[in-house]
Assembly symmetry: C2
């Protein structure tokens, strides 16, 4: 599909893309670059890509598809660095969790004749780094395709086919809508999970050991979410500020209403609220994003 693909950044997503591209046979040569020497060494050692380069410009030379797989805050500088080395007609894409600010940061650097099309594969684990990738990460997960205004339709279609070949389901979205949807289903839930884990850790009346020991039933799911990469999440909240603050505002408003129901002993309000949420859960099972089976098939098995 693409004769040469360059991966800039060699973490969980880029590593999984390399393995999924090999599985699907959709790339001629896969080059890779990571800022850290240690990451490049590891990638070479495990053969994560066909050729690890010591500079980003070397990696993107003659590449037909360039994937920016770096934290959202680093997209602009990386794009500025590689722009002069792009071959004519090259397609640049990213895999960031935020789209409006990535487009703002990247588009001014895209040279005449090259293309930029944002993507967001909604898949991940709590692990990061070059050893964390696996070919099945994107299987049956959504990949949101977010083209800028006036994007070349042929190149957008080709990139969609590429993500389909990697196992993902495709949906197109505009940048603003993408950012608010992700604030709801991903960004704010992560922030909340981080907060709850932080509260437990701070609490004097309950020891860390107790929190860890008795973490089944609720808290454990929070800790799993809260173990994701700190740099990635910092950038998400700094760059999707507006949508995150909007959803957070709604969240605290509702939480305060439930808190008041607890304080005043208003059992009906609590019961009604808890009943309503069951329907959403059923919808998720029906939509195939989770199963009702004992083992959820999360993580390395994809799902």
């Amino acid at each position: 599909m693409y004769n040469r693909v360059a991966l800039i950044g060699l973490g969980l997503i880029a590593g999984s893309m390399s393995l999924a591209m090999r599985r699907a046979g959709v790339a001629g040569e896969i080059t890779g670059y990571a800022r850290s020497q240690a990451t490049r060494d590891t990638a070479r050692e495990i053969g994560l890509v066909d050729r690890v380069c010591d500079t980003a410009t070397e990696a993107v030379k003659d590449a037909d598809l360039i994937v920016l797989a770096v934290p959202v805050g680093a997209m602009g500088p990386v794009m500025a660095e590689i722009a002069p080395a792009l071959k004519p007609g090259a397609v640049v894409t990213d895999v960031g969790s935020v789209k409006k600010s990535v487009l703002d940061a990247v588009m001014p650097h895209i040279p005449e004749g090259a293309h930029f099309i944002g993507t967001h594969p909604m898949a991940g684990t709590e692990h990061s780094g070059p050893r964390s990738g696996f070919a099945e990460l994107f299987d049956n997960r959504w990949c949101l395709i977010v083209p800028p205004e006036g994007a070349n339709e042929g190149e957008v279609k080709k990139l969609e086919d590429f993500w389909s070949a990697l196992g993902a389901n495709i949906e197109r979205m505009d940048p603003e809508h993408h950012d608010i949807v992700c604030a709801v289903v991903s960004h704010v839930p992560h922030l909340i999970a981080y907060t709850m884990v932080g509260v437990a850790d701070d609490l004097r009346r309950v020891t860390d050991q107790e929190v860890i020991k008795f973490s089944a039933a609720g808290f454990r799911d929070f800790t799993r979410i809260a173990a994701s990469d700190p740099t990635m999440w910092r950038d998400v909240f700094l760059t999707n500020k507006e949508a995150a603050l909007e959803i957070l505002g709604r969240f605290t408003e509702e939480l305060f209403a439930l808190q008041r129901a607890i304080r005043t002993g208003d059992g009906d309000t609590l019961h009604d609220y808890f009943t309503r949420t069951r329907a959403i859960r059923r919808g998720i099972i029906e939509a195939g994003q989770d199963t009702d089976a004992p083992d959820f098939g999360r993580g390395k098995k994809g799902g």
Copy 2:
């Protein structure tokens, strides 16, 4: 271990106890009662216990161990009802998620010569009802043993051995400490999950269909938590009010600090906070309450 065991309430926990008792061979006859005719019919149909009774007093007749497996708010009335029918020396226990208020509600009704010892098996799934039980639910999960002051040590030990035979790990706790620990690791995380799911459902700018479709990565775990039994959770918050409100207060305080960091663009605060939570997650994996493996072994497989 106990010649006759009576289960009052025939939902997930009681049903699983019956199946686990049979597996372990620790009960002579198991009787059961549920308030709802439909539940009793189902329990009879699937042979969940040895004998389904149409009244609670019939079920507890000649029982050596009586298990109150009803919502926390129903413990007092049920105890008052069965108290006159208890045989001398009978041990009554409960499986509620809250302990201080259960002891307050139940202890005044315990007849001279009978014993009450609270327990809290920390295991569950998002399912409820007589068909949801399975023998492995308690395997390698914690069961907190919460005796009232002055409890008979021999009977407490025997009940601990009983729960061990059902597969659980045992830890003793006093009622106050139990309630604050559970507020942190279970009750407040559940409330937060319910709230987040409610926010998503309410939001006009994002459709329910989108929330359901793109629920991987964060939100899905929340919906799973938020699908638990509404009546049980209502009673938890009404009866563990003090501890829940204390932890909620801490939570909103920390959440506001992170919200301010997002608003002011303070990336260092966010990064530091997100880094700190990783350690807790590692501790949980090391403590064996979760695994690092692809399939978490949650739900019906126990774990």
